[in-house]
């Protein structure tokens, strides 16, 4: 329906799983691929994540917008994504060459999913410290996302998680759709995520 503008990618996942950390890593990885980029954060309680991203100086501050969710992180990405759509439209207007807009959802639970009127593609970020049983719980976020990212793999030994079975169960729950592992702290696995995003929405060779 909308005029051709930047592709829109949603990033959802439980509180603290590493969504902002992933965005911080993806920005340089996508820049390296020549992608013109902007970010919208749906901070739940403050503008913390937007301000944190601005402080990194990875992107010009006017390319980072915060949208308040009125304590409803689900609603603002699914039942009523109009405020996010307006924010994305305004980025399209202000930056005509924009290729991609990343929309970080406020930390939520396993049932959160993105409206396909809002995004073209969305990923769901969980982390090993949340427990290796998360994939088995088959939340709609885990099952329906286009890409599942298991983050903080560096913490696996400390929280008693063996990665291989966790990945296997995640893939099984998702009927084989993609699962990628990252360690945002050490910048590991980020290129694979960036390639997956580019291949999915920018028709760019991975």
């Amino acid at each position: 329906m909308r005029k051709i503008g930047a592709a829109r990618i949603g990033i959802g996942g439980p509180v603290g799983s590493g969504k902002t950390a992933l965005v911080e890593r993806l920005i340089p990885a996508l820049h390296k691929r020549g992608v013109d980029l902007a970010v919208i954060t749906n901070d739940l309680v403050t503008h913390e994540d937007a301000e944190r991203l601005r402080r990194t100086n990875l992107l010009a501050p006017e390319r980072i917008l915060a949208v308040e969710a009125g304590a409803c992180p689900h609603t603002v990405i699914r039942e009523d994504p109009t405020l996010n759509m307006e924010a994305a439209d305004s980025l399209d207007r202000d930056f005509p060459d924009l290729d991609l807009i990343l929309i970080e959802s406020g930390g939520d639970n396993l049932a959160s999913t993105f409206s396909l009127d809002l995004v073209d593609y969305w990923l769901f970020v969980i982390d090993v410290a949340g427990g290796d049983d998360i994939p088995r719980k088959r939340g709609p976020g885990v099952i329906q996302s286009d890409l599942l990212v298991i983050n903080k793999v560096d913490l696996a030994p400390y929280v008693g998680v063996t990665l291989a079975p966790m990945i296997r169960e995640a893939s099984a729950a998702r009927a084989g759709r993609p699962v990628l592992c990252t360690n945002c702290r050490a910048n590991e696995g980020i290129d694979a995520v960036a390639d997956a995003l580019c291949a999915a929405v920018l028709y760019q060779a991975a």
Partner: protein
């Protein structure tokens, strides 16, 4: 539109679930609570005050005039200017524009008559897209008569205060329903009153206005205003 079809239309567009971004605005309530200026038992009085002293005397008048002028773009631009001038508090003005644009965005995608010309004017820098103007235009566009459009707007405003108050932990779900029922006769009476001229617009909700001004500096901001 026959009565039942009109009622069903009003229910669809007056539904708190209608995607217009309204859930992200508290219109000063979040700061009032943070500042300890309102209690659970005081919520009903607050709601009645907001509806009587702001919605009835300001929003209602702009909505009604925009509804009547839905096809007259130059008149709508003047009303939009007026709405801008009357929104003296920055967070309220920004909220009115953002909520107006969000509501208009949904109606554009739904193809509601009147939405596109207003959007073109906004994109061309000729209007801001304030909520009462957008409401008047789109509620006329979907075929509601004036009083029904006002009822949809009044109910939308009142229920949006109630759900914000619930999410902010001020009142319970039953308090909300009681407050809505209590304010209903008032709203019905106000909607039936003769419509003032735009020169007679007024608004007096000082406590909420000051709270809204303080919103930018609050440490917790779940809501946009």
């Amino acid at each position: 539109m026959n009565d039942l079809s009109g009622l069903l239309t009003a229910l669809q567009f007056g539904d708190g679930q209608f995607p217009g971004g309204g859930f992200a605005f508290s219109w000063g309530l979040e700061s009032l609570i943070a500042d300890g200026q309102i209690t659970r038992t005081g919520f009903g009085g607050f709601l009645a005050g907001q509806m009587r002293h702001r919605w009835a005397k300001c929003d209602r008048v702009i909505i009604a005039h925009a509804h009547a002028a839905a096809g007259d773009l130059s008149r709508l631009l003047a009303l939009d200017d007026l709405a801008d001038a009357w929104a003296t508090v920055e967070t309220m003005r920004a909220g009115s524009r953002r909520a107006g644009l969000a509501l208009l965005g949904t109606h554009l995608r739904l193809g509601t008559p009147g939405a596109q010309p207003l959007k073109n004017a906004i994109d061309g820098g000729k209007a801001q897209g304030h909520l009462p103007v957008v409401q008047g235009v789109v509620l006329a566009g979907i075929g509601l008569d004036g009083p029904s459009a006002l009822a949809v707007s009044a109910y939308g405003m009142a229920q949006s205060f109630c759900t914000a108050a619930i999410r902010l932990g001020l009142i319970s779900h039953l308090d909300a329903q009681r407050s809505l029922a209590d304010v209903r006769p008032d709203l019905a009476r106000i909607i039936a009153e003769p419509m003032p001229d735009t020169d007679d617009i007024q608004s007096f909700t000082p406590l909420a206005d000051i709270a809204a001004m303080r919103h930018m500096d609050q440490t917790q901001r779940l809501f946009s205003n």
